[in-house]
């Protein structure tokens, strides 16, 4: 009987993190991509460490931060804060812990207690530490955004095929870097195994995230085929 109960109760809390509708907003171009239309509180949203990852993290923080949420970035002494401000992040609510040292896990856990969004980078953590931090985020209703590999994340975002506009031999040459076309691919729970993707300008004009409206189809090897699948 107890085994039955265990089985019935077991998977439920893990299955639907943030199902109570508490979703932190993200910019419109990313909202269509993310399950739930934003960053669901209590989830872990990993950002793969490819080219463009930093801009993608800033774009994820921007909308919630501007709306009054607190964000923290741990282990990134080289974060471009001017770019963060241009992306729309409110710097007065962006706490920076550039050098957490050996206390990375403790610092992350402390920030998950008080902040809404916590970006953690720096070094690869053990599986047990990852599980602990993810559990802490779930319990506190914060969003954990690891930058780099994070097996077990609820959702993983990857920035691919970045192509800068404005410099080079192209027709849109304006003499300086201006915008970048990227394809952001999403994999994870509640999404079809192949994942889904969206074409974005990251950064767009003036540093903010935008939809890539005139992106030529050849730039993206796999167009958005399975958006409805999730």
């Amino acid at each position: 009987m107890r085994r039955l109960e265990d089985r019935a109760a077991g998977p439920r809390p893990a299955a639907e993190p943030g199902a109570d509708g508490r979703v932190l907003p993200v910019g419109a171009p990313l909202a269509t991509l993310l399950p739930g239309g934003g960053l669901r509180r209590g989830t872990t949203v990993a950002v793969a460490g490819t080219v463009g990852a930093t801009s993608l993290v800033l774009a994820l923080l921007a909308e919630a931060s501007a709306g009054g949420a607190w964000a923290g970035v741990i282990g990134r002494p080289d974060l471009g804060l001017v770019a963060a401000a241009e992306a729309g992040v409110a710097l007065e609510r962006l706490a920076l812990v550039p050098y957490p040292g050996a206390d990375l896990v403790a610092v992350t856990a402390a920030l998950l207690d008080g902040l809404d969004l916590v970006v953690v980078a720096g070094r690869v953590l053990h599986g047990s530490d990852r599980a602990r931090l993810a559990a802490r985020a779930r319990q506190r209703g914060a969003v954990l955004l690891p930058l780099g590999p994070w097996p077990g994340a609820d959702v993983e975002l990857t920035c691919e095929q970045g192509r800068w506009q404005g410099v080079g031999a192209g027709s849109g040459d304006v003499g300086r870097l201006r915008t970048r076309r990227v394809c952001v691919r999403l994999r994870g729970r509640g999404v079809a195994p192949a994942g889904r993707s969206a074409r974005l300008l990251l950064p767009g004009v003036a540093g903010r995230l935008a939809v890539d409206v005139e992106g030529d189809a050849t730039a993206v090897a796999r167009p958005i085929a399975d958006r409805e699948a999730g």
Binding site: L91, E92, R93, A95, V97, V107, G166, V167, G168
Partner: protein, 534 residues
Amino acid sequence: MTVPVRVLALWSPDWPVTAAARAAHLTPDRPAAVVVANRVLACSAVARAAGVRRGLRRREAQARCPELVVLDRDADRDARMFEPVVEAVEELAPGVEVIRPGLLALPVQGPAGYFGGELAAAERLVDQVAGCAGVECQAGIAEGLFAAVLAARRGVAVAPGDAPAFLAPLEVEELDREPEVDRSELVGLLRRLGLRSLGAFGALAASDVASRFGADAVLAHRLARGLDPRPPVRRWPPAELAVELELDPPVDRVDAAAFAARTLAQRLHGVLAAHGLSCTRLGVGARTTSGEELHRVWRCAEPLTPSGTADRVRWQLDSWLVRGGRGAVDRLQLVPEETVGAGALQLGLWGDVGEADERAGRALVRVQALLGPEAVATAVLTGGREPAERVRLVPWGDDRDEAASRVPAASGGAAGRASGSPVREPPPPWPGRLPAPSPAVVPPDPLPADLCDAAGDPVHLATPDLLTAAPQTLAVDGGPPRDVHGWAGPWPVAQRWWAPDGVAGSRLQVLRADGAAFLLFARADRWEVAGVYD
């Protein structure tokens, strides 16, 4: 209409300078000034004799008085250094209230009766402070705190009943002397209306003042007429408003005391808010492990905010602990000695506005306890051209506005404004700044880069805005060279060419074939990575 009690105010002129000079072990004959945001906040008498004035720019002050010693402001230190003065006065007279470091007040009735006359009492107290604490101060006696403080600035005793007559010829600027209250707008308005003296302002009907100038002007109007600032319907707080905290283990370090102060202030304000009150006079009590009871009263011009309360408790504990000899503190008590209706100090409408901020603040303080106070920061954008120099990191808990108004030395022309000015001017333009997007990665130390042309020879600048050859490969930080897909620039920049630490060089955006884009900076024929467009 109640007549306020007669108050004796003791005022030590230029306290920030006195405290700072004592901390720096300067002799009193050295001219000194405390400078905040490039403006003189306070200066010593010697400096004033040389022409230094409050509000001058630092450079101008130094021009008038080249041997001027420039000191930093430190509110904690000011409070700590003032404690001996308070103790010296307390030896002779009870009921001392600290208004702010450098100014204290006490009811004159008791000492006057004991020493045989108000003037004798004032003289005795000034001697006592000079003898025990080694601080010069001036005394003033008048009805009501406001008049007494003004009398102390002039070193006079106003006869009973003469306070309105004493105030009448004084200028309306006297209303704006308290650093915690900003009445500059009201004072400016009154001057423009031709009301130049307190007497002229006081002659207006109270109802007219209330209907035209707002609540704070009513208070100022009462002050100008020599009345108690608050209408007589003052409420005496019931005893259960006092909050207590047992400290186990006893606290003997300042940082631990600050933590306790914050907790207790939070609780006090919760209790007060539940009663719809805010506190204007705060009693801070502590019991040491040796059983000694310490108590000090702080009075404020404005109802205290939670952080204002925490500050005062921290200053008080700081001075008790640092001065030593008292031992550790094992109980802390806050008593709101005088309260007013919360009115102006209403919490957010839903009660939880600011709760997220408080929660975040607590988490950040915890991390500071773990890693040290400098380890947690928020960023402030300031003037500058390069991505790295446009950002200033402010340790959590420090004043962001102050940091923002401290324009970097490289600015040259941009004015360092006095902090706390209510209207922030828009930042000045920085010609030569690269437009958005800015690099998302800015290495704390620039990485070396090798830029080569098709023949494999290094690319240099022929002139500041011309490359010797078209770049073909780029290697960053000793990595393998990668093909260059495109580049833009170079854009020359020359900053502070007149100073030895001046910077002259050119910036170049390089796009590699693998999609990575870099912002390079050429300095003396060497390329370094100033930013990565990640």
